[in-house]
């Protein structure tokens, strides 16, 4: 990035194999932790059909479980992010892995649907491992290497969901043959939780918060995002509401399924309203003094850019989370595949993540316009989801898989192009811009999966395609690529130098 030669070589792909380097080892240790949290987080999707047939659940009940699986992730990211700042990522990550193994085990050996629902809801917090992993990586690597290191960490870690989709059904087949079909899936799932718990213990002793000798510093964390105009303050408030607001949607859905009475629903609404109100108060508290003082022209940025990136992440990461949760079941039903094969095919969606997400970022770095890269990826996402919606049992399976992979290429690559733009919006608030976009990924997933409880798979794909089209149009019309600015300018002439020299003598 900057001062490359002056301060040594920038980290490259080859360095990843240099296991003698302490930071590379720390990267892998953290990646493994992140991987395991994702593995456990998504250990249900590949078993959905098995759980239905063995446990006697309805499809609607299962869809609700899928929604619960991503519900608390957003608020958990906020609180766990704070915990990571306070206690350091090592302790927070260890605690998360050990504690979250409990609901995972409860789920695995649950006897009733309510138990499943509650344990999944609690387990959705395991998705916050992402935040801790990013934090830990940022402590180990110099800023110029951080984009790459975090790309590796996030890319490999996200594989957890696809590896889960591919391996858990196989593990289940093995354990089913040992203990019978009724308990088979339970042991498959419990195994993943147990591995995560053990790794959590190892992580506590196996890593430090940054290289030895460096002190763990608490990063600055403002209470709310800074904006530049009064209009943008309104904009920011509007875009902040859904981050907590999706929880109301979830509560309403749970209520609709008869697992919550009116009073409990009202209490949930009240809590969500309090959360939203709290965030609004924070936004006002941070911004009113700033705006009253006035923001200098060269320090301004448009909140619209943040909004576009949020919308883009809804249909990229949000769609990915949503689709990953239902794809194995979709393949199993549409093409009458057995769970192992359906898991393999379904898992291929997220499997591409490591390459295609990095590819998206790489392309964004190379082409003349990052906005161009983003809109092309969004258009591709919209188009390929349209194609996904056309898949019928009459299709040859390889063609369906090809379309799925193409869709995955655009969706995960879209994540890369979105996050390639995040740091450019406004330097000082990059963390918060990333927070907004990241949260919208989960907002998207929650909304899509809630919608999934009402619609067929075909309609689900068309819905995502339509939202992607809307994001595409929003990006084309509203997004202005931040190019940077001139920071300094001065003039030196030989006359000046002569004068200077004259004074010196």
């Amino acid at each position: 990035m900057v001062n490359k030669k002056a301060s040594g070589k920038k980290m490259a792909w080859g360095d990843l194999f240099d296991l003698r380097r302490e930071d590379i080892r720390a990267l892998y240790k953290t990646t493994a932790a992140f991987f395991l949290t994702f593995y456990v987080w998504f250990n249900m999707a590949p078993l959905v059909t098995t759980i239905v047939s063995v446990g006697g659940l309805t499809m609607a009940q299962l869809k609700l479980l899928a929604v619960c699986n991503v519900a608390l992730t957003v608020p958990a990211r906020i609180f766990i992010g704070m915990a990571s700042d306070h206690f350091g990522p090592r302790r927070t990550f260890s605690a998360l892995m050990v504690i979250m193994a409990v609901p995972a085990l409860v789920f695995a050996f649950s006897t009733g649907y309510t138990e499943m629902l509650v344990s999944r809801l609690i387990m959705s917090m395991v998705g916050a491992g992402f935040v801790i992993g990013i934090h830990m990586t940022s402590l180990w690597f110099k800023p110029r290497d951080i984009g790459f290191a975090e790309g590796v960490e996030a890319g490999l870690g996200n594989w957890g969901s696809s590896i889960a989709a591919m391996t858990i059904p196989a593990a289940t087949v093995v354990s089913s043959s040992l203990v019978g079909a009724e308990y088979g899936w339970r042991y498959g799932m419990a195994l993943s939780a147990a591995v995560m718990m053990l790794y959590g213990v190892y992580y506590w002793f196996g890593i430090t918060d940054g290289p030895v000798g460096s002190t763990f510093r608490k990063p600055r964390r403002a209470a709310a995002i800074e904006v530049s105009t009064w209009g943008d303050l309104g904009n920011a408030i509007v875009w902040t509401v859904p981050i907590m607001g999706v929880l109301a949607l979830l509560a309403w859905r749970v209520h609709g399924m008869g697992f919550m009475n009116e009073t409990a629903l009202m209490v949930c609404y009240g809590l969500v309203a309090l959360g939203v109100l709290y965030q609004m108060v924070q936004l006002l508290r941070v911004n009113v003094p700033i705006l009253k003082r006035g923001v200098p022209e060269d320090d301004k940025y448009r909140f619209t850019e943040v909004a576009v990136l949020c919308a883009a992440y809804v249909v990229t990461f949000g769609a990915e989370l949503g689709v990953v949760s239902m794809l194995p079941a979709f393949y199993q039903k549409t093409f009458a595949l057995d769970p192992v094969k359906a898991g393999l095919v379904g898992g291929s969606f997220a499997f591409l993540n490591f390459f295609s997400r990095a590819l998206g970022g790489y392309i964004s770095d190379r082409v003349p316009s990052r906005k161009g890269a983003l809109v092309v990826y969004l258009a591709g996402t919209a188009a390929t989801f349209g194609l996904m919606g056309l898949i019928t049992p009459a299709w040859p399976l390889p063609l369906a898989i090809l379309v799925t992979l193409l869709c995955a290429l655009f969706v995960t690559g879209g994540c890369g192009t979105t996050f390639a733009l995040v740091p450019l919006v406004k330097r000082r608030v990059t963390g918060q811009v990333a927070g907004y976009a990241g949260a919208y990924g989960n907002v998207g997933a929650t909304i899509f999966l809630t919608a999934y409880t009402f619609v067929s798979s075909q309609q689900f794909f068309f819905l995502i395609g339509a939202v992607a089209l809307a994001s595409f149009l929003f990006a084309v019309l509203a997004f202005r690529e931040p190019a940077g600015a001139f920071a300094e300018e001065y003039h030196l002439s030989s006359v000046d130098r002569a004068l200077e020299a004259g004074h010196a003598h």
């Binding site: 990035m1 900057v2 001062n3 490359k4 030669k5 002056a6 070589k9 920038k10 490259a12 792909w13 990013i134 934090h135 940022s138 110099k142 800023p143 110029r144 951080i146 984009g147 975090e150 510093r217 990063p219 600055r220 964390r221 770095d365 190379r366 003349p368 990052r370 995040v422 740091p423 450019l424 330097r427 000082r428 990059t430 963390g431 990333a434 931040p482 190019a483 940077g484 600015a485 001139f486 920071a487 300094e488 300018e489 001065y490 003039h491 030196l492 002439s493 030989s494 000046d496 130098r497």
Partner: protein, 136 residues
């Protein structure tokens, strides 16, 4: 004659500046030095401090190169920008309208050089003025 030189802190950038002055000295060119600091991808508060440190070191470097060019008898304008190097160099060309831009090319031997290579490749197509590419 107005010559813009894009410099990035590398030895080759220094060489590009030397070449520009060496070749065009008889024309008594006005030199416009441009350096672009890329924004860090680090999202933590710590990245901010380190970014400031880079920017300062790049400022000193720019000053040093400008002083050297001025000591060679040239009129020197120095510009520092923050952002995408391609975009900002293009922007600098637009605002200063030089007759020529001189940049170093490092060749695509590793990832970082490919990025730089992409800057020169971009400028060759989009600069809107003549481009002189200085090789190793």
């Amino acid at each position: 004659m107005k010559i813009m030189v894009g410099i990035d802190g590398s030895p080759l950038a220094r060489r590009a500046l030397h070449r520009a002055i060496e070749i065009f000295r008889p024309l008594a060119p006005e030199i416009v030095l441009v350096t672009v600091v890329e924004e860090t991808l680090d999202a933590s508060g710590m990245g901010e401090q380190i970014f400031d440190k880079w920017r300062e070191s790049r400022q000193r470097y720019l000053k040093e190169m400008a002083d050297w060019a001025a000591s060679q008898g040239a009129e020197v304008d120095a510009l520092m920008a923050v952002g995408d190097p391609r975009k900002m160099l293009q922007e600098a060309i637009r605002s200063k309208s030089p007759d020529l831009i001189v940049i170093g090319r490092r060749g695509a031997s590793d990832v970082e050089a490919m990025r730089l290579g992409s800057v020169s490749a971009f400028l060759i197509r989009h600069a809107g003025c003549d481009v002189l590419l200085v090789h190793k």
